[in-house]
Symmetry: C2
Subunit: 308 residues, 2 copies
């Protein structure tokens, strides 16, 4: 059994390769829900849906989020009704939200609702939200504290992030199955996601980091920092804002207490020695997932480092 800790787009792209080199049924994905939000009274789980849509083969591959070929007629009507519509929700995507919100109002937990949606869409891996309780990532900027989606989507990650908080994390618990999956895993993979607000939020749920430290399985992470920056998203600027080194070394340090192997891109090969001095093995390979073949290759090599 393989456990993957995931955020959004980068994680989903990696998982697409992973479920092609390992039987999908053997993969459990623990997904960040710190980016969850409510729009129009509907519960949005952006990272969960990105992972589900990707593994279901219906994601909009150009964006990495949303459903391919989706229309935006409901959103246009909501604008006409006077609502803010900066969070892009397609009509099919809205259906998922409507369904999830309805399941939650009927008393299902977020993990139960997630399982129903994933199963209905034909996903064979197990998708677990990190927690059934609300944990909300907020970021402090010069203009004050912002909800994550306001910073991420409405303000296009433009403000500098001075501080990050995981509101509610202190009283949250890992969702049912999360700790068991980590305890019984043969390999644990940290997807190439933001170490602060995707993987970092997972790690803020009491018990998850401790389970990784205690796990007898090897833990491997793929560095989301490549060539001094990120492929997508604000991880590099966030790390810099918080005084972290923006390199695979910075990533290695963030996970140092439990990480066995760090996968870094060929262009960062010169960091390998410094990372190994932290007691972390390295794999240097092509981590820029331009094609499905590269995704499979990356997943295959990543697994080999910890399943050997």
């Amino acid at each position: 059994m393989i456990v993957a800790l995931a955020g959004g787009v980068g994680a989903a792209r990696f998982l697409e390769g992973l479920v092609r080199v390992a039987p999908p049924e053997t993969v459990t994905v623990i997904v960040n829900t710190g980016d969850d939000a409510e729009f129009y009274g509907l519960h949005v789980s952006p990272d969960v849906d990105i992972v589900i849509y990707t593994l279901a083969g219906i994601v909009n591959t150009e964006h990495g989020w949303g459903i391919k070929g989706d229309s935006f007629n409901a959103l246009e009507m909501l604008a006409r009704l006077g609502r803010e519509t900066w969070f892009q929700l397609g009509d099919r995507d809205l259906a998922t939200l409507i369904h999830r919100t309805d399941l939650l109002r009927r008393g299902l937990s977020l993990s139960e609702a997630t399982a129903q949606i994933a199963t209905a869409l034909g996903v064979r891996s197990r998708i677990l939200p990190m927690s059934d309780q609300p944990v909300r990532t907020t970021v402090r900027t010069a203009a004050g504290w912002l909800a994550f989606q306001e910073y991420f989507v409405k303000l296009r990650t433009e403000p500098e992030v001075l501080e990050i908080a995981y509101s509610g994390a202190d009283i949250s618990q890992p969702a049912p199955g999360v700790l068991e999956a980590i305890h019984t895993a043969q390999a644990i993979v940290l997807c190439p996601s933001n170490p602060l607000v995707s993987i970092g939020t997972n790690l803020a749920v009491p018990g998850i980091r401790e389970a990784l430290v205690a796990s007898s399985a090897s833990v491997v992470a793929i560095s989301p920092i490549v060539g001094g920056g990120t492929i997508k998203g604000p991880a590099d600027r966030m790390m810099r804002g918080l005084g972290m080194e923006v390199s695979p070394v910075g990533v290695a340090r963030a996970y140092q207490d439990f990480l066995d192997v760090l996968v870094l891109d060929v262009q960062d090969a010169h960091y390998a020695r410094e990372i190994e001095q932290l007691g972390i093995r390295t794999l240097v390979t092509d981590t820029i997932m331009r094609t499905l073949e590269i995704k499979e290759q990356l997943a295959s090599e990543t697994l080999a480092t910890v399943l050997a």
Copy 2:
């Protein structure tokens, strides 16, 4: 000021003419909410939306309900997620439901939410749900009691209706403004809607029928029964099932305690005498609203009978 009591499609078509022969701002429409239902946790007010969409000029004129040019991608996705989708909700239509449901959850009343939606869509007449409390029309068939939309949409009005109940009506109140509008009206029009489950539901809200009886304004109804049947909907079969005469006479009797004038179609002219013997004046004219001109003509002649 003109007050119109309305149900769905027939009413909306009549109102389209009415607001062209009277200033829209002088018209208050009191709309049946007995057909309201919840789908996927969203509050559907079918008759309210039919009236709003029609007066906003965005109704699907072919169906008489829904929004013209709407897509059905969310509904298709809901089916894929395992939900029943027999109630046809387009993507733009769903936006209205999402918005309304959100407003209700934030504590607005149905009449406040309705006013917001109507205003946002440019409707200049005042649209009032008959009540802010839930009143639900249910029908007894050979198979037992059914919620109205199950009978009306899911079963396509096929079962014979043996009995009608307005669940919750006994403890409901007219929405704010309803009784005041009736008391101060110069003319009251009962639209060509089902006398049992559209107008009848309005009349089941304690105080509305009494206000019509007490009103000093004249009350005129347009018979929805033409040539022994209805243009649209099951009113004729429902009336027959409940032992009422399926003719303008049957309609006149249903409203006898407050009705001053009944408008009947030219093909029903032979009923005029019998209706007048009930103490109700008649206007015989073309009531089949095939064109906008006929709608205007019908509205104009109808108003003339009570504003003289």
